[in-house]
């Protein structure tokens, strides 16, 4: 069979195959290399008896807690904006808005950090004072409200804005894949636009939306700069959202403590990095599962 093909095409095939193989191999080697580096240089922290687990749990909790709240804000905004862009808005406006949302992803995280410190936090502190006064009985809003507003909730809000484009653009893609005929059939049966979205669009787009949310979660877990700048962090495990004493995040802690770390402290930080790497990997694996399930359907 191959002999029937023109010679140039066969050569092209070979080159193409080699290039893709190489690209695939490189990513695997790099990923494995990073994991091996973290493992080899992190293990001494366990033997050192420096209480590295005392760092791991509060910080993993902090990373997860901040990411969960970020998603609670980001998923409705991301999916809502995707629906608006694809289904509701006039085509012109939708295109512009979609581009604007994607641009959010191009803003450097250090800029989000500055924005968080100078704009979001002071504005939010007013809200926190009100929440504390009127809903202080609720465990999440208990404690003395932060006067600066640099709380876990503020960090989550900043994270949410950072991950909205991930959710929004992935959702737009899967919503656009829903056959027009399904929507039209739903509308023809007398469904309102909202009913059509609920019956025809969301069930088909669900797996893509979930995958987008999980990717966003991975991003939120690993975000370093913005969190380190905005969050008033400590090593406490606390579910409170509006106080000055918030759990720190793994990535933020590493960034803040690496510059002056020496000896075993460096090993501890690398072990922390490995733990976050594992958590993120688990989440990415789940995201991949959902994504492939959606494709095979």
């Amino acid at each position: 069979m191959p002999s029937a093909r023109p010679h140039a095409l066969i050569t092209g095939d070979g080159v193409w195959r080699a290039v893709t193989w190489a690209a695939g191999a490189v990513t695997v080697v790099i990923l494995g290399g990073v994991a091996a580096f973290l493992l080899i240089d992190g293990v001494p922290a366990l033997r050192g008896g420096s209480g590295v687990w005392g760092l791991v749990w509060p910080l993993l909790f902090g990373s997860a807690w901040a990411a969960v709240w970020a998603l609670l804000f980001a998923v409705p905004i991301g999916v809502g904006s995707a629906l608006f862009v694809t289904m509701v808005a006039p085509r012109r406006l939708g295109g512009l808005l979609g581009g604007a949302i994607d641009l959010l992803a191009a803003v450097p995280s250090v800029v989000y950090g500055l924005w968080g410190i100078f704009v979001v936090a002071p504005a939010a502190s007013v809200v926190y004072a009100w929440l504390s006064a009127h809903a202080g009985w609720f465990p999440l809003f208990a404690g003395t409200p932060s006067a600066t507003g640099r709380t876990l909730l503020t960090a989550s809000l900043v994270l949410a804005i950072m991950v909205v484009p991930l959710i929004s653009s992935l959702s737009r893609e899967v919503i656009a894949l829903v056959p027009k005929t399904h929507i039209e059939a739903s509308l023809a049966l007398g469904a309102t636009r909202w009913q059509a979205i609920r019956q025809a669009v969301l069930p088909q787009a669900k797996s893509g939306i979930i995958a987008g949310a999980l990717l966003a979660m991975g991003r939120a877990l690993g975000e370093t700069m913005a969190v380190a700048m905005v969050l008033s962090s400590s090593l406490r495990v606390s579910v409170r959202l509006i106080t000055s004493e918030n759990p720190g995040t793994v990535a933020g802690f590493i960034a803040q403590n690496f510059p002056d770390a020496s000896g075993l402290e460096v090993n501890s930080l690398l072990w922390l990095g490995l733990m976050l790497f594992l958590l993120t990997m688990v989440i990415n694996t789940v995201a991949r599962r959902v994504l492939t399930k959606g494709v095979s359907k």
Binding site: P122, T148, A228, S234, P259, D260, A261, S262
Partner: protein
């Protein structure tokens, strides 16, 4: 391929040649003009360490390279800990560090022939206890009160302990928001050292570079993070390098002698000159135990002392010559003045300059 490579090599060679020819003439010209050094210095000196010294090191490098145009000095602000391990590994010939070397770190130094080091104070900076209170611009506080504010023991600004130290000042009932560094830092180390010396009964956490987890309060990253936090919250109080505290309320500290002292270069220099070198160290290791309970009326106790460190004997003679010249410049009156104007540090007093220069003079 081979043709391209040889072409490129040829180009690089010629580029080097054209670049290099003017350099010796200018440097020898300057050397003869100043007529101080026997032979013009040349080469590259790699240094790194303390982030607190970054601005000062930039000023020192600029000043030193202007006087010695054939020399390149690199300073990598990787942090004190990384700087000390880099020095031990030989990647930095000179390091800047906020904490003096510990005995355990002074072994197997790759760039040195022995474990003897030359460690001199080079960057001294007053740390301001800064606050943000509407309608109050200056406050007098003593060590105990500062410790109580920072640990959260004093919850409101109209606390009797503060009122007693500030007669005539109308204090608001604003809640106190103590702000500390969330990152590990020499500033925190020096500030907590002050608290543990001046307020031992209240501050039981020792002298630590990472703010104790047990304590609450607002955490902010870096000096600028602390400044931004204090600025944004009425009732906030924290500690920052004095040069960064402009626009904030700055506390006049009541020292152990009962004197009210502002954070100034002179006050910092006074405290350091009253401090004693740590015992059990080599003759050229001028690590100080800062006496933060000095009773001298001019001594400002909340100061940061950061060191510049080199080998006593370098394996590589050329590196030794460069390190010696650079460190001499750093502790000279010129070098200290350059750091003071660009980094807001406190110039070393003349007695300390003499001691440090004598130690550096032994480098070979």
């Amino acid at each position: 391929m081979a043709v391209v490579a040889s072409l490129a090599a040829g180009l690089m060679l010629s580029a080097c040649a054209t670049n290099e020819s003017p350099t010796p003439t200018t440097s020898s010209g300057e050397a003869s003009a100043t007529a101080v050094t026997v032979a013009p210095l040349s080469g590259t000196l790699n240094a790194g360490g303390s982030t607190a010294q970054t601005a000062a090191q930039t000023a020192w490098r600029a000043g030193f390279q202007t006087a010695n145009s054939a020399v390149t000095v690199n300073y990598d602000p990787v942090g004190s800990g990384a700087g000390r391990s880099g020095f031990a590994a030989g990647s930095y010939a000179v390091t800047g560090t906020d904490d003096a070397f510990q005995a355990s770190e002074m072994t197997g130094l790759a760039a040195c022939t022995s474990d003897d080091i030359v460690e001199v104070p080079a960057y001294v900076s007053p740390i301001a206890v800064a606050f943000n209170l509407k309608s109050v611009t200056s406050l007098n506080l003593d060590g105990t009160t500062i410790a109580k504010l920072m640990t959260g023991a004093i919850k409101a600004w109209d606390d009797p302990a503060i009122a007693a130290l500030n007669p005539g000042v109308t204090l608001p009932s604003t809640a106190v928001t103590p702000v500390h560094r969330s990152d590990k830092s020499g500033t925190t180390g020096n500030f907590t050292d002050y608290l543990s010396q001046a307020a031992a009964s209240v501050w039981t956490y020792g002298s630590v570079q990472t703010w104790p987890t047990d304590l609450g309060g607002e955490a902010a990253q870096g000096t600028q993070g602390v400044v931004a936090s204090i600025q944004s919250a009425d009732g906030a109080v924290g500690y920052v390098d004095e040069s960064q505290a402009s626009g904030l309320g700055v506390t006049t500290v009541i020292n152990a002698g009962g004197a009210k002292v502002s954070p100034t270069a002179a006050g910092a220099a006074a405290t350091l000159s009253l401090s004693t070198p740590q015992a059990g160290r080599g003759a050229t290791d001028l690590a100080y135990t800062v006496d933060r309970t000095a009773t001298d009326p001019s001594a400002y106790p909340v100061i940061m002392v950061s060191y510049v460190v080199g080998c006593l004997h370098y394996k590589d003679a050329a590196t030794g010559t460069l390190a010696k010249a650079y460190m001499s410049y750093v502790v000279s009156a010129d070098g200290q003045a350059a750091a003071a104007s660009s980094a807001g540090s406190a110039p070393l007093g003349s007695d300390l300059i003499a001691k440090a220069s004598a130690a550096i003079g032994l480098i070979s």
